[in-house]
């Protein structure tokens, strides 16, 4: 039993915190980054590479640092506190996990160094109009054609897809729409013929894309996994996004408590009202429970037992989703009008928390997974 970080992990946390303090310390700068063509600042992405964050989860033999879910948790928590816009979760954590678990050594040798150097961004194109949160619900097709495959279909809400150099696309080789068998993952060059993308901002300021694949040819060597690989990567992404949520909640609660101590009504700081103190306490309790689940998720994410791992992620994501809604809503209420404005950070923290619940399955979805 040990909940302490190692010295190395503390160093990692401090260097990430320092990077974000420089870049995001002044919240207004975030607006400027979001308005850049990719929806984030490429110079900051280069700093991620320089600090080693983009190599963090990969094997040393592919130029990585061999970090595990706890290291990812540390990075994601800081991303959450700062509402960082860079596509770390989709590219390094989610797509990175697919490559680690599903790609051939040849593909890893080719792609991972590019990710680590900040030269390649990868997005996972799995959601479809009808699929909601079910990774096995796939209508996009892949058919064998000579020495490769031809992919056909539409993907929606591909997070990070606007700026991606490669897409990892889930496609059905055989079977019916929701069959667990017959699904394969393909690494597709985002500029390949037949790929069209429409990028956009999302509610929380991150960016995504609609992706259409029309007769897109992919070499057989670019097949990088199947449904179990996608599910395993999604589990790692869930652990990461849980840590991000904890960072968002921590920042939001600190802002709320600080606001309550300075906002005066009826001649006193509103923090003297016990009804409001208790509300803030409930937020804190929810966030600490959420933190426990984020740690549980991180410590379960590397398990090879798919069932045990999946259950842990379902528990964690359901708890995090519920806490995220509660903390977000109460923070806005305790702030009053100022919390509703675009120029103030609290509202943006609230929006990111809301969207985290809709990413990789909401609280209800995971509750039902567990209850099933």
């Amino acid at each position: 039993m040990d909940f302490d970080f190692t010295d190395e992990q503390r160093l990692l946390r401090d260097s990430v915190a320092k990077l974000f303090a420089n870049r995001y310390g002044d919240f207004e700068k975030r607006n400027g980054y979001a308005k850049q063509p990719d929806g984030f600042d490429r110079a900051i992405w280069t700093e991620y590479a320089e600090v080693g964050l983009l190599a963090l989860p990969f094997d040393e033999k592919h130029g990585g640092f061999g970090g595990g879910p706890v290291e990812t948790m540390i990075v994601m928590e800081e991303i959450g506190k700062n509402l960082a816009l860079e596509p770390y979760l989709p590219s390094v954590v989610f797509a990175g996990a697919i490559l680690r678990h599903g790609a051939s050594d040849a593909v890893k040798d080719e792609i991972i160094p590019k990710i680590a150097a900040g030269e390649a961004i990868i997005a996972v194109a799995h959601t479809e109009r009808q699929s909601r949160y079910d990774l096995n619900d796939v209508t996009t097709t892949a058919r064998r054609d000579g020495d490769g495959y031809v992919i056909e279909g539409d993907k929606t809400v591909v997070i990070g897809g606007n700026s991606a150099d490669y897409l990892i696309v889930s496609a059905r080789m055989s079977g019916a729409r929701r069959d667990r068998d017959g699904i394969a993952l393909f690494l597709v060059d985002a500029k390949a013929e037949g790929v069209s993308r429409r990028g956009y901002a999302m509610q929380d300021g991150l960016h995504g894309a609609e992706v259409s694949l029309a007769n897109v040819r992919v070499p057989a060597s670019r097949r990088v996994g199947n449904l179990p690989v996608l599910e395993r990567a999604a589990d790692e992404a869930i652990a990461a996004v849980c840590a991000e949520a904890v960072g968002v909640m921590e920042a939001l609660i600190a802002m709320t408590v600080d606001y309550m101590k300075t906002r005066k009504q009826f001649g006193v700081a509103i923090s003297v009202f016990q009804a409001l103190q208790h509300r803030a306490v409930d937020m804190y309790v929810a966030a600490e429970q959420a933190r426990s689940m984020a740690i549980f998720a991180a410590l379960s994410a590397a398990s090879d037992d798919a069932k045990e791992r999946g259950e842990a992620m379902a528990m964690a994501k359901s708890a995090i989703g519920k806490a995220a809604r509660f903390v977000g809503q109460q923070a806005i209420q305790l702030h009053g009008g100022i919390g509703m404005t675009m120029e103030y950070k609290a509202g943006h923290l609230f929006k990111r928390l809301t969207m985290i619940d809709l990413q990789f399955g909401d609280a209800d979805h995971h509750l039902r997974r567990l209850a099933a």
Partner: protein
């Protein structure tokens, strides 16, 4: 005890439904169903149709367009408008400043303002909240200094809804800074928005929309005859105004309409192999909100029945605070459920109504998806404004439980 409406009340409800069906433009209704904004002119046109029918200000005195209806008739009209959905008559006009002028204003003010207020020829906005005076409204700092035949106003108002459309603003300003109690030195003054010295600055809300503003007053000279009632009695008029909304505050019709929308969308969404609407866990969630809403509807009718017995111009019933608390909680629950139905497709930012807006031009996925998250974000405000739910709890604690 009798829960149902009388046959006369039912006939009136049918008349309202028919009127809405025959007169409300389809595109306005559709925009409201989807949670999109409706334009100023749409709101004006519709209020004028209601006013021509005698339905814009039925609760006003007869001389100024009132109908001397029972509170139940007023409720039926509002409930039908909300659940259609159709725009409601502009609350700043018909529920706020109109009744104040009709009750406390001079004959000259009544003649000058009431017909145009009912017909929305004059668009009013509310100059109450200030940066330092929210829940503690009586702590307001804006001043009105008497100089000959004028008041000179200085200060800043905030959260001023649709000030960008407004022709006039009703302002609470301090006329006696030396008053013993802070509530005692406040006056209620009508100000033409075109008066030199007024600056309106937009505030963008987290859903990306522009509905509220800051309104700044810098040496704004207002004719003294624009004072409503007596100098330094403005707080009484403000309290009268704020307690005047008991027929619409719960917005039961709005929630009914949104739950219909939830059902429609959930019938189109799939949960695995079945319709989302058929999933037992989803039906339980929906039923939970419907139970709360039914209880609220009956609580609302009980408050109205009480008002009918005691005479409608009595002091506001502190039970109205139940309507505000539960009404806002239920409305927020419905927007949350709608977003959950839309699911991951709620994530793209798709506003496109605002000129300065950087939203996407054509919708991602179905039209339904675009406004689900912004509506959820925006509606967090309803437990904050109009006396926050914390203030409503204070009212119940003091006025009903006697703490």
């Amino acid at each position: 005890m009798e829960l149902s409406f009388s046959s006369e009340e039912l006939a009136f409800r049918d008349e309202v439904r028919a009127f809405i069906r025959d007169n409300l433009p389809r595109d306005v209704q559709q925009r409201m169903i989807e949670g999109r904004e409706i334009g100023k002119q749409d709101i004006v046109d519709w209020q004028r149709k209601l006013n021509a029918k005698g339905w814009a200000v039925p609760h006003w005195p007869r001389a100024w367009g009132g109908q001397n209806w029972s509170p139940v008739h007023e409720y039926i009209l509002i409930d039908e408008l909300q659940s259609a959905p159709a725009p409601q008559p502009l609350p700043f006009n018909v529920s706020m400043v109109g009744p104040v002028i009709a009750t406390f204003g001079s004959d000259e003010q009544k003649k000058t303002f009431l017909p145009g207020t009912a017909n929305l020829d004059i668009w009013w906005c509310q100059g109450f909240s200030e940066p330092g005076a929210g829940s503690d409204l009586a702590g307001l700092k804006t001043t009105a200094r008497r100089e000959g035949d004028f008041y000179v106003i200085n200060g800043q108002k905030t959260w001023t809804t649709l000030a960008q459309y407004a022709d006039w603003i009703f302002v609470l300003a301090r006329t006696n800074p030396q008053a013993a109690k802070k509530q005692e030195g406040i006056s209620f003054i009508l100000v033409d928005m075109k008066t030199p010295g007024i600056t309106v600055r937009p505030i963008q809300l987290i859903d990306g929309g522009h509905e509220v503003n800051e309104v700044w007053f810098d040496e704004v000279k207002v004719p003294a005859e624009n004072l409503v009632g007596e100098e330094n009695k403005g707080w009484d008029y403000a309290k009268f105004l704020l307690g005047n909304e008991r027929t619409s505050i719960a917005r039961v019709g709005v929630s009914k309409q949104r739950l219909r929308r939830v059902r429609e969308l959930a019938a189109k969404e799939r949960a695995g192999d079945a319709r989302l609407l058929d999933a037992p866990w989803f039906r339980e969630k929906l039923a939970g909100i419907e139970i709360d809403l039914k209880a609220l509807e009956i609580t609302q009718l009980r408050v109205l029945a009480e008002a009918r017995k005691s005479g409608k111009h009595g002091a506001p019933d502190p039970k109205s605070s139940i309507l505000k608390i539960k009404g806002s909680e239920i409305q927020q629950a419905t927007t949350e459920l709608l977003m959950d139905v839309v699911g991951p497709l709620a994530m793209p930012y798709q506003r496109s109504t605002d000129a300065e807006d950087d939203g996407n031009a054509t919708p991602i996925g179905p039209d339904d998806a675009a406004y689900a998250a912004p509506t959820y974000f925006n509606w967090r405000k309803i437990s904050i404004y109009g006396g926050s739910n914390e203030i409503q709890r204070n009212i119940i604690a003091k006025a009903i439980l006697g703490f």
